[in-house]
């Protein structure tokens, strides 16, 4: 009848969907960003791809789960408890598993990280059983509609908490003495030692902060998707690794941007193609990055300076 109007309406519909998927993608991407930050910080300082990082995130989710269901805490205290306990767990893992290997070849540490990953997965499984747990529904009835785009309560929680954590992290890294020491040690550990910086302490703090961020991501995912299980960390752990590589591993803003891009791509693929291809899209990105720009979006092509 009037093809132009139909086309207009159709494109409005598509446009609307794109925006909706963007919101979903940014929420998911914030989770990836929180996990990827830990990956990238730890890589920056000891050049270790910490494959146990996704499992730290899983433990964080369980601590949050028990804080909410057993101790009947509300979200913010539960997040704080999970953040602190998981932060210390990360430091403990570093102390027991990685510190003794400080001067060992990198492959030994990498294999140890895989071992730690299994250890965390199956120890957790032993104590909490492999059955998925259901997070109590939260913020289900809260939602804001902006121009037809729905942002639900959980998404607002994710976006809000992530934003607050980014601000705090930026402050710590840029302004505090410890943050400066972290940057110095990740640039050149030996010279940092010559400044009087105890690199062991800085490495420990880095694991603490990275693990705390992952813990928050774990609790937020529990609230967002309702369900947690002992193997839930494997896929997001790998995806966050992709995000960190995409942004440029070792670079903090890179992890955030990489996480957000990955989240948005996944949401768009799920929304417009099929959610079956979601994971494939994530790893296709990894392959593309490695082919086209191995150093990542923010990475410099590091050539040895003469």
């Amino acid at each position: 009848m009037r093809p132009l109007t139909i086309w207009k309406e159709l494109s409005m519909e598509v446009w609307h969907q794109v925006l909706q998927q963007l919101i979903n993608g940014i929420s998911l991407g914030s989770i990836y960003a929180l996990i990827a930050l830990g990956y990238t910080m730890i890589y920056g300082i000891i050049k270790l791809i910490n494959f146990a990082h996704g499992d730290i995130y899983m433990v964080g989710a369980y601590i949050g789960f028990f804080a909410i269901t057993q101790a009947h805490l509300s979200v913010v205290p539960a997040l704080l408890i999970s953040l602190v306990v998981t932060g210390f767990l990360g430091m403990l893992v570093e102390r027991l598993a990685y510190k003794p290997l400080r001067h060992a070849p990198r492959i030994s540490v990498l294999i140890t990280a895989i071992g730690v990953s299994f250890f965390l997965e199956y120890t957790t499984m032993y104590f909490v059983s492999p059955t998925p747990r259901t997070f109590p529904a939260m913020f289900g009835d809260v939602a804001v509609t902006v121009g037809g785009i729905v942002i639900n309560g959980q998404q607002m929680l994710i976006l809000g908490i992530t934003a607050v954590l980014m601000v705090i992290l930026t402050y710590i890294v840029q302004k505090t003495k410890t943050g400066k020491a972290m940057r110095a040690a990740s640039f050149d550990t030996e010279t940092a030692e010559l400044m009087g910086i105890n690199s062991d302490r800085i490495i420990s703090i880095t694991f603490g902060i990275g693990s705390a961020l992952a813990a928050v991501a774990g609790v937020l995912v529990g609230i967002y998707y309702n369900s947690i299980d002992p193997l839930m960390g494997i896929m997001p752990g790998l995806k966050a690794f992709v995000a960190a590589v995409l942004g440029g591993i070792g670079i903090l803003p890179g992890a955030v941007v990489g996480g957000l891009i990955l989240g948005v791509v996944e949401a768009l693929v799920s929304g417009f193609i099929s959610s079956t291809f979601r994971d494939a899209a994530a790893f296709a990105i990894l392959i593309l990055v490695l082919l086209v720009r191995p150093a990542g979006i923010f990475g410099k092509n590091t050539k040895e300076k003469v």
């Binding site: 110095a184 010279t191 030692e193 010559l194 400044m195 009087g196 910086i197």
Partner: protein, 238 residues
């Protein structure tokens, strides 16, 4: 005679299987400039890295101000009053000049004293003040050397270890840097200087040691060594 400030007694240091230092002994007295000269690979840097705690001696002792410091970790050594300017400057390239200097004072808490030393560093190296908000990686080689020296001074060391400060610099700049080393020494900092540029090093030092493949082969007053036939042949180009 007073005890030397730094006394290294018969140390052996290994890099994995390589026996890098073979029974080295040397002394630095308070107020001196002592230089350690020798060819590439003789063990000069290894000696400094052992003093500053980056390497551990397998045997032998290192005493600083009456305290044993062999095997003490690098970040603890700084607190005792030894600061090193590493070979190749090793400035934190991604951080600003100011942040680099702040890190030099990492172990200190006396804000007034830090401020005072910052002023002193900017007097020694006015160019650093001009570029204080620039990232260290954008500085020229000479400026990076100045920054590395300023950074080391910010811990207010009693003993300053300098590893090849002349490396890769133009002759005029080398002269400037060496004049500043003399100034630093005059204002009360003892200096242990490692150099391949033996001519320059001997011209400002009180005493010198010659290192050859992990052993000290000669030592004495700098001016005597500069005049010695052996040293002239081997290190001063005839």
């Amino acid at each position: 005679m007073a005890e030397p400030m730094l006394k290294i007694d018969n140390i052996d240091v290994y890099y994995g299987a390589i026996h890098a230092l073979k029974g080295i002994s040397l002394e630095v007295n308070e107020g001196e400039i002592v230089t350690l000269i020798g060819a590439n690979g003789a063990g000069k840097s290894t000696t400094l890295r052992t003093i500053s705690g980056l390497l551990k001696p397998k045997t032998g002792s290192i005493t600083f101000l009456g305290q044993s410091i062999a095997g003490v970790r690098a970040h603890e050594i700084v607190k005792k009053g030894i600061s090193q300017v590493p070979e190749g400057r090793r400035v934190f390239a991604e951080m600003t000049v100011m942040e680099n200097l702040d890190l030099g004072a990492f172990v200190r808490k006396d804000k007034a004293g830090i401020q005072q030393d910052l002023k002193h560093v900017f007097e020694l190296f006015p160019r650093l003040e001009e570029r204080k908000n620039q990232s260290a990686g954008t500085l020229s080689g000479g400026e990076q050397q100045m920054l590395a020296m300023g950074r080391a001074l910010m811990s207010r060391p009693k003993l300053l270890l300098l590893d090849e400060p002349s490396m890769g610099l133009a002759p005029l700049l080398i002269k400037e840097i060496f004049n500043i080393i003399v100034d630093i020494n005059k204002s009360g900092t003892t200096v242990l200087l490692v150099e391949q540029n033996a001519n320059m090093a001997l011209s400002i030092a009180n005493r010198a040691y010659v290192l050859e493949t992990g052993r000290i082969t000669l030592s004495g007053k700098a001016q005597d060594l500069a005049a010695s036939e052996d040293v002239r042949k081997a290190y001063l180009g005839g």
